[in-house]
């Protein structure tokens, strides 16, 4: 496996448009173009465009694919009609999270899996080592560019770019369409909490599509957005990030995401470990918190105290641009992982109060 830092097909375009580029998960990505605050507000108020070409895409086909995926992933793939998708987990034998991903069923026996950029090789190797020989399984990550179009004006932009010939996929639906002589996967999914779409298409057209969307979206005040805003947006929604809030050391039950685990279906990898944990009681839980007074921004790894006892550390944290207060998430012992529990965050040796809240931290109309 190469240790070289990777670039998406849009790297030159990002540099040309003045992005500040940093290394993320083995990729050189824009952290912002103007500022995180600007870009965050653009997504909440009008429209933002993200390069998500670094994410991984696997294609799986064949009559046994559904059954095979059901053995490897926690959610029930049989629930998907053609054109539907679901959020799901790839677990190890101990029930720990290898990756969180979205599985899209775009045809009778054809599935697209979109995985985290930092986990592409690991996910593929794991799934391939457990492969059913009748399933055709390919890592197509390099073939695809991906863009996320997110914001209240996303629907208008979709209609302007793809309409009237193509109608929008409904929430959690995917369409495969031909437009401008190329095949697009368009999914009504996102990581920001706003209306929007994620589109995947052949990587050689990345620059063209990126610039066309910026051009057409100019009417709606579209802004190119970097990973900095992507992080503040998803954290306001309490969406977890693999590598920070999710890891091989935590199960989906601890992460509060048992909704995406189907214990009723036939065996899946990690099922036994999760059932055992359920029976014994989940010892710690991932919860969101909000600072209760002005403080430095809470950041990953800052210690969390209850009285004199350290009870955990922050997994993800930031200043919320929408709420204008520090927010974050952490695994806390079950007895403290309760809404309204007061905790203290240690920043450079000084402690600031925070309160455990209900998900999500941001609701529309805030």
């Amino acid at each position: 496996m190469s240790d070289e830092i990777k670039k998406t097909p849009l790297y030159d375009e990002h540099a040309r448009q003045g992005a500040k580029l940093v290394e993320f998960g083995g990729w050189l990505m824009p952290v912002h173009y103007t500022s995180i605050m600007d870009e965050h507000q653009a997504v909440r108020n009008s429209l933002g465009l993200f390069d998500i070409s670094h994410m991984g895409q696997f294609l799986a086909s064949g009559p046994e694919t559904g059954q095979w995926l059901n053995r490897l992933l926690t959610n029930n793939i049989n629930r998907l009609e053609i054109g539907e998708c679901q959020y799901t987990f790839l677990l190890n034998e101990q029930g720990g999270v290898i990756d969180d991903l979205i599985a899209y069923r775009y045809n009778e026996n054809d599935y697209l899996l979109v995985v985290n950029a930092s986990k592409i090789e690991e996910d593929f190797a794991w799934m391939n080592s457990h492969r059913d020989s009748s399933v055709e399984f390919k890592n197509c990550s390099d073939d695809f560019a991906g863009l996320a179009i997110q914001g209240p004006q996303a629907i208008q932009l979709f209609d302007l770019y793809f309409g009237p010939q193509y109608s929008r996929p409904a929430r959690n639906e995917i369409k495969s369409i031909q437009c401008d002589l190329m095949e697009f996967f368009i999914a009504n999914t996102g990581y920001t909490g706003e209306d929007g779409f994620e589109i995947f298409f052949p990587s050689q057209h990345a620059t063209t599509v990126w610039n066309q969307i910026l051009e057409k979206g100019a009417n709606f005040g579209i802004k190119p957005c970097g990973l900095g805003a992507r992080d503040t947006l998803r954290l306001e929604m309490c969406y977890p990030l693999n590598g920070s809030d999710l890891s091989a050391d935590h199960t989906p039950l601890e992460a509060g995401l048992s909704f995406f685990v189907d214990f009723q279906k036939e065996n899946f990898i990690g099922r036994e470990a999760l059932l055992k944990q359920k029976a014994e009681g989940v010892q710690r839980r991932l919860v969101p918190f909000r600072m209760t007074e002005k403080s430095p921004p809470p950041r990953p790894h800052y210690p969390i105290f209850k009285g004199d006892r350290q009870i955990g550390e922050i997994t993800s944290g930031t200043l919320s641009p929408t709420l204008n207060i520090g927010i974050g998430m952490a695994y806390l012992p079950a007895e403290y992982a309760r809404i309204n529990e007061i905790i203290e965050i240690d920043v450079r040796g000084r402690r600031y109060p925070a309160v455990v809240e209900k998900k999500p931290l941001h609701r529309k109309g805030n």
Partner: protein, 126 residues
């Protein structure tokens, strides 16, 4: 990048404005542009003794916390009260209303170790 002629500069992007035996300290336009939106500033204690090059303050953007190093040694006499409610002043007026603290310079401190504007300009364009 704005580099006023009446200031001295540290290589760590702090500026110093001399006023007899006291000085005002802040961060440069280059530094604030690198940080982008500053959301929190932690300042030294008034009356505290600081040394040249010692980390004395923290300026936080959304993404990162940055240490600020005192360009000179001495006693902190004043800190900017406006920054508590409006940390963005450091972005909008880094040499004026976004000043960080004032310091009574310790006797024998060497101002020569700080840079002239031309040298700082060369550093940030290099």
């Amino acid at each position: 990048m704005n580099v006023p002629e009446n200031l001295k500069y540290a290589t760590t992007h702090e500026w110093l404005r001399l006023d007899g035996e006291t000085a005002t300290v802040g961060i440069t336009d280059h530094a604030q542009a690198e940080l982008t939106d500053i959301v929190y500033v932690e300042l030294p204690k008034v009356g505290g003794l600081v040394s040249a090059k010692q980390p004395v303050a923290v300026v936080e953007s959304v993404k990162a916390a940055s240490d600020i190093y005192s360009p000179i040694g001495g006693t902190v006499t004043e800190i900017n009260p406006a920054l508590e409610g409006n940390p963005a002043l450091v972005n909008t007026d880094p040499y004026g209303d976004g000043w960080l603290y004032r310091i009574k310079i310790e006797a024998g401190e060497d101002l020569e170790q700080l840079n002239e504007p031309a040298a700082y300009k060369a550093q940030i364009s290099g």
